[in-house]
């Protein structure tokens, strides 16, 4: 049974690479407008879970739905049918993703990066797409960088362009995979500020991060994952100050 009021619903999601099981039955739910932060040691499956949400990885069992629709499958008479490439692509349009290593298109300027998907995928007219693109770049504080190539921008600026690029598809859900981990410390703040603004505007977000300050301040829920399972989930202040599980305590004592 899936709840239509949930933006993301994961039930017993499992995923293996070869013989190693990386996700061992994940149950999580994200409400519309909620900001969920996910923490956990390296290799615990955080990225894999995020990638399952927009079907960059296929789950092996369990159910995963976004906005009431199963990810990558269609249910017909109790049987799951795999969606075709084109239908998977259509599902991804409504889910924005921001990567640790930015993954901007290096052969395109900042503005071209932002307008590419609206023009090619949504078939937005060029003038409208560019106008919207400039607005988005202004929103992330880069109105004057529209014609720079990624290599001419700092890491923080590149990540903000990447956020604008994802927003250009007007997603209902944004996924962030350690968006500030590849940045020099002094550039982290500018990216977190943009994300804080998004949260204030009501965007539903799932954020894998090591920024405990951000998780405490902006997050509605904090999830601690370890070794492919959700160990603990709850109010960020509660989890950070009074963790219920030994594994959470051990992890937090190392990072705080």
């Amino acid at each position: 049974m899936s709840d239509d009021r949930l933006m993301v619903q994961a039930e017993q999601v499992r995923k293996s690479f070869g013989r190693t099981e990386v996700l061992k039955g994940i149950d999580l739910a994200v409400r519309p407008g909620e900001v969920m932060c996910v923490i956990g040691p390296s290799g615990s499956g955080k990225s894999t879970f995020l990638r399952c949400i927009n079907h960059l990885e296929k789950i092996d069992s369990g159910r995963l739905s976004v906005d009431g629709h199963l990810v990558g499958y269609r249910e017909k008479g109790g049987v799951l049918h795999e969606l075709r490439d084109r239908e998977v692509a259509a599902q991804r349009r409504d889910i924005g993703m921001v990567f640790q290593r930015f993954n901007l298109f290096p052969h395109m300027t900042a503005l071209e990066n932002v307008v590419e998907a609206p023009m090619r995928v949504r078939r937005t007219a060029k003038a409208a797409a560019r106008q919207r693109g400039v607005e988005l770049l202004e929103r992330v504080g880069l109105g004057d960088r529209a014609h720079n190539y990624p290599a001419q921008l700092s890491g923080g600026q590149q990540q903000r362009v990447a956020i604008a690029r994802a927003l250009a598809m007007e997603p209902r859900l944004m996924l962030f995979d350690e968006p500030t981990s590849a940045l020099d410390p002094e550039l982290v703040g500018e990216v977190l500020d943009v994300m804080r603004g998004l949260a204030t505007d009501g965007m539903t977000m799932v954020v894998v991060t090591h920024e405990m300050g951000f998780a405490r301040e902006v997050g509605d829920t904090l999830v601690f994952m370890d070794d492919g399972v959700v160990v603990e989930a709850g109010d960020p202040k509660q989890v950070l100050t009074d963790p219920q599980h030994e594994r959470t305590r051990a992890f937090l004592s190392k990072v705080l």
Binding site: D85, A89, F99, N103, H107, Y149
Partner: protein, 300 residues
């Protein structure tokens, strides 16, 4: 005191003397027949030959690149049949010398008198149902297709596609997989990702060896003598050489023609490489520089 390099001066002197001797030999040895060479080098059949050579090079490269891209994409396909066929194609055509392949293509006219295009195994299938008929739409005379220009073009294209497939594959694989993921996450389809994101970035890796391939192709058109393609440059120059018994001047003319044509290609390669290094490093592009100057003028 500047550092002295006596070795360099001695070396330079020796080379200068050798060059002077060589030029002296070129000018004084009557075998070269310079005036005769110049007269023949730009005669009508030779100019036509140069045109044929250029057209053949362009066509064989364009078709070879297109076929090569298809083979490279098939090679990277998750379908093992498609990637296997593509692997076998590359293996086979890279193993054959072009000259041998051209001889073979030229002889295909003798294999079947006509080449029919139609339903596969049509007569066998019709037999099965008790008819004696065929399902063919088009019948081509083998001696006509596998002759001259077309035979040469087929041979060179098939060979070139194998080399280009390897070059394109290396280019595609040089692109960070994160690029494909980012594009997929935006909802772009597989074809769009290949055309808009991966291939343009692969170009930087693909273009330099493709330039070399083009120059090699220009030179390999001289192998068309195996077909033969009688209108081609080398064939024409050799024909004049043997007709007039002036082999050396025409051989030199041949060298000069290929040097000139190759040089044009090398210059083109330089500009293409610059064009496709856009966004690499933080060099300002021409459009950006223009925009910045316009801004400065505006504020001054």
């Amino acid at each position: 005191m500047p550092v002295r390099h006596p070795g360099r001066w001695v070396g330079a002197a020796v080379i200068a003397v050798l060059v002077a001797m060589f030029v002296h030999m070129l000018v004084t040895n009557p075998v070269f027949q310079w005036q005769f060479m110049v007269d023949n080098m730009f005669s009508d059949p030779v100019l036509t030959g140069a045109r044929t050579t250029v057209i053949m090079t362009i066509l064989a490269m364009v078709l070879g690149v297109l076929l090569g891209v298809v083979i490279a994409v098939l090679r990277l396909s998750p379908n093992p049949v498609l990637s296997g066929v593509s692997w076998a194609y590359v293996w086979f055509f890279r193993a054959i010398p072009r000259l041998v392949l051209l001889f073979f293509v030229a002889s295909l006219g003798a294999l079947y008198a006509t080449y029919d295009i139609g339903f596969p195994f049509d007569t066998q299938l019709m037999d099965l149902f008790g008819f004696s008929a065929d399902l063919r739409f088009l019948s081509l005379d083998g001696n006509q297709i596998f002759k001259g220009f077309l035979a040469g073009l087929i041979g060179l294209t098939l060979s070139e596609a194998a080399y280009m497939a390897e070059i394109v594959r290396a280019g595609i694989q040089s692109v960070d997989p994160g690029q494909t993921e980012a594009a997929a996450a935006l909802g772009m389809g597989r074809g769009q990702i290949m055309r808009r994101i991966v291939l343009p970035q692969a170009m930087r890796v693909i273009i330099p060896p493709t330039g070399n391939e083009t120059i090699a192709m220009l030179k390999d058109t001289s192998l068309l003598i195996a077909v033969p393609v009688t209108s081609e440059l080398n064939f024409q120059l050799r024909a004049i050489g043997s007709r007039t018994f002036q082999v050396i001047p025409l051989a030199v003319a041949s060298i000069l023609w290929y040097v000139a044509l190759s040089s044009v290609l090398m210059a083109g390669q330089y500009f293409l490489e610059r064009r496709f290094s856009r966004g690499v490093g933080n060099r300002e592009t021409r459009a950006q520089r223009a925009a910045r100057r316009a801004d400065q003028v505006g504020t001054a």
